[in-house]
């Protein structure tokens, strides 16, 4: 078996369009059976060509590289059909034109960093998994199809160059991809902060705020409408008969508050927010309903003030409201979702066969 493998690896054999035009397969062939490539073509495989381009790429000589490849292509001796030769040359010229324009601008680095002006997938090849045919410039006026019956030298002359150019354009796009990735990661961090530190929303509030938000957005909403937002809050009101704001005159108790309407604005990074809302306090005991307003400064500080009409003794027992925006304090409702989900999951613990 070893001898057979050795013989196979040193004797040249015809390659398929997949092996000539698909980088994964070509690399595998080079690794396992370099003789199948042949001494004449080994120096011209895409990875070798790409290695030679590194220095010029590092010094941003992109147009120079395309011109070199164009000259090399013009001198290609493989019997490429004239139509395919013209199509490939046209695409090389188109790439050169795009790069020339970008390089002639005042801010070529910015254009490159934003991936504007150069079509980076121009030389991407496509392999049909059923027919094994390889296609370059698919579905364009310059489409070139290479089959098992295409001369092997023609396939290599076109595909090796296309793959090397594809790699070159991938390198050209690297700074922009890194920048885009970092921007997306920042956006996810904003969504995390928005999820963890935003002012809570009941389903109807989420529906309302969703209705005014574009689902195509990358960043979370910059603002939020508060609507019929209930909470359990702490109220500090004057004791009956007490006068003045001294602490000993204040009575502390729990109250249900409702914010009929309000507005929240998120600050940069979504770590905190500013907002205001109307406020109604509905105490459980002898106090009448109070109405006022609440200020929101991040999750930590939600402070309001409610006014009340005078009681029979002629006292007005206004109150200061402190709410922690802990939705789960309101009723048992918040835990119900999780409880029901957990219960349902336990009932469905056995997968359906």
């Amino acid at each position: 078996v070893g001898g057979a493998l050795l013989l196979w690896s040193v004797v040249a054999r015809p390659t398929t369009p997949e092996e000539d035009c698909r980088l994964t397969d070509l690399r595998s062939t080079i690794r396992r059976a370099p003789a199948a490539i042949g001494a004449a073509w080994l120096p011209r495989v895409p990875d070798s060509v790409y290695a030679h381009m590194r220095g010029r790429m590092a010094s941003n000589e992109w147009v120079f590289l395309v011109d070199s490849i164009r000259r090399d292509f013009d001198a290609e001796s493989a019997p490429i059909p004239p139509g395919d030769r013209l199509a490939f040359a046209r695409e090389l010229d188109a790439l050169r034109g795009e790069l020339s324009v970008v390089m002639s601008l005042r801010d070529p680095a910015e254009r490159r960093n934003n991936a504007v002006g150069v079509r980076q997938v121009r030389f991407r090849t496509s392999i049909d998994p059923d027919t094994r045919d390889a296609t370059i410039f698919a579905a364009t006026g310059d489409q070139i199809t290479l089959t098992t019956s295409t001369d092997q030298d023609v396939r290599r002359a076109l595909c090796y160059r296309a793959l090397a150019l594809d790699r070159m354009l991938s390198a050209y796009g690297a700074p922009a991809r890194l920048d885009a990735r970092e921007k997306l990661e920042e956006a996810v961090a904003e969504w995390d902060a928005y999820g963890d530190k935003s002012y809570s929303q009941y389903p109807w509030e989420l529906a309302l705020n969703s209705a005014r938000f574009d689902a195509k957005a990358i960043h979370p909403p910059r603002d939020q409408i508060v609507l019929m937002h209930p909470a359990v809050s702490l109220e500090l009101a004057q004791r009956p008969g007490g006068t003045g704001p001294a602490i000993e005159n204040l009575h502390r108790f729990t109250t249900v508050t409702v914010e009929p309407v309000g507005y929240i604005s998120y600050r940069t990074g979504y770590e905190w927010y500013l907002g205001a809302s109307l406020l109604v306090s509905i105490p459980e005991k002898e106090l009448p309903l109070g109405a006022g307003a609440m200020a929101h400064i991040g999750q930590a500080l939600n402070v309001g003030y409610v006014f009340r009409s005078r009681d029979l003794a002629g006292n007005r027992r206004d109150g200061i409201i402190v709410s922690a925006d802990l939705l789960q304090l309101f009723t048992s409702m918040p835990k119900l979702w999780r409880e029901n989900r957990d219960r349902a999951l336990s009932q469905l613990a056995t997968p359906i066969p």
Binding site: E18, L206, S210, A215, I218, L348
Partner: protein, 360 residues
């Protein structure tokens, strides 16, 4: 350089290791069906010294879990509150109040995610951004030093909608002015959509107007984001039956596999039930590893072997299940809206559970 296959789950609760069983299925199939080349070359992922493919599981259900921590599930209160405030909430909640306990359970464990994703654009945007970022996080390093890995995605059920939307935006919308991942600068090799619900859940970008189409589509190659698009659908799966995926003029780059009809488990919507069918996994293997991955003769043998696999033993229950599915699909197809899909999905899961229970 290894190529990349992103795998995205469907609806329901998924842990960190949700894709383990999918990976195990991919690794088992060459042995199960005797695919010689794959067996000798380390399977679809390749061997240690010739790594061809990295399979990357993605997840987006954290978005729904966060809301689960905030909210209760009082559907009646939710609907009434929404109605009083003039907010349109789908009538699926009204149906839910009349649903059976099993249906109720499946709604809250699986289908509520669909409702959240489709009807709350803040949730939609959150999930889409996370998926875009997860794609970029892997693609960017894989393309360093001028590498050009073949990038493929495999999505299931709700994941087909989330993945379509994420790709459509990644391919058409600059990221704060950056075009790096847009069509023209990035081209996916393969998109595999299994139990595709992207049409019925579509918002914007519209499914047939987005860049997520093959280069051979009539709209042209200039803005194409995909080289080949595969759509897999099982005859008795009601999920993709509502507004079924059926593009016109997408050309040779589009492959529709709709002749799956064997019922080897009652949950025919299950991802692994799909993958076990050679009609599904052979096109995937060939697209990922080339035509050599499975020969024509091996394909013929595999399909014959799969079709000869015994169906569940309780045939009466199986026939009753198939009849129920056909009725469900007929009703759901007539609805053609997301609410119909959500109700059909819940009823399907409940029917599958009941069929399983009756079978034992």
């Amino acid at each position: 350089m290894a190529n990349l296959l992103f795998v995205v789950h469907g609806m329901g609760v998924h842990g960190a290791d949700w894709a383990d069983s999918v990976l195990a299925t991919f690794r088992r199939l060459p042995d199960d069906y005797g695919y010689k080349w794959l067996k000798e070359n380390g399977g679809i992922e390749g061997s240690n010294d010739d790594r061809r493919l990295d399979i990357v599981p993605l997840s987006y259900d954290r978005v729904f879990d966060r809301l689960a921590q905030q909210w209760g599930k009082d559907s009646k209160a939710l609907r009434e509150s929404a109605h009083e405030n003039g907010i349109s909430i789908p009538n699926v909640l009204g149906w839910l109040e009349r649903a059976s306990e099993v249906e109720h359970n499946f709604f809250w464990t699986h289908v509520v995610d669909v409702l959240m994703y489709r009807f709350f654009s803040i949730v939609t945007a959150d999930a889409r951004t996370r998926l875009r970022a997860a794609l970029a996080e892997k693609i960017e390093p894989a393309m360093r030093d001028g590498e050009v890995p073949e990038i493929s995605v495999l999505a299931h059920s709700l994941g087909t909608s989330v993945m379509h939307d994420a790709l459509a935006l990644l391919g058409s919308q600059p990221i704060d002015g950056n075009h790096a991942f847009m069509a023209g600068n990035l081209l996916l090799s393969n998109v595999f959509m299994i139990a595709n619900v992207s049409r019925v859940l579509e918002t914007s970008p519209a499914v047939f107007g987005s860049v997520v189409h093959p280069q051979t589509a009539a709209s042209g190659a200039a803005d194409a984001y995909v080289q080949r698009y595969y759509n897999f659908r099982h005859r008795f799966d009601p999920f993709p039956a509502v507004r079924p995926f059926g593009p016109v003029g997408w050309g040779a780059g589009y492959t529709a596999v709709e002749d799956c009809e064997r019922v080897l488990q009652f949950n025919v919507h299950d991802l692994e039930h799909y993958l076990n069918d050679p009609r599904v996994h052979i096109p995937i293997f060939r697209a990922l590893a080339g035509s050599k991955a499975v020969t024509k003769a091996e394909q013929t043998r595999a399909i014959a072997a799969y079709d000869a696999t015994p169906e569940p033993r309780c045939l009466d229950e199986l026939h009753r299940f198939e009849t129920t599915m056909e009725r469900l699909i007929a009703v759901a197809s007539a609805g053609a809206d997301p609410e119909s899909a959500i109700i059909a999905a819940t009823q399907f899961l409940a029917a599958a559970q009941e069929a399983k229970d009756a079978c034992h």
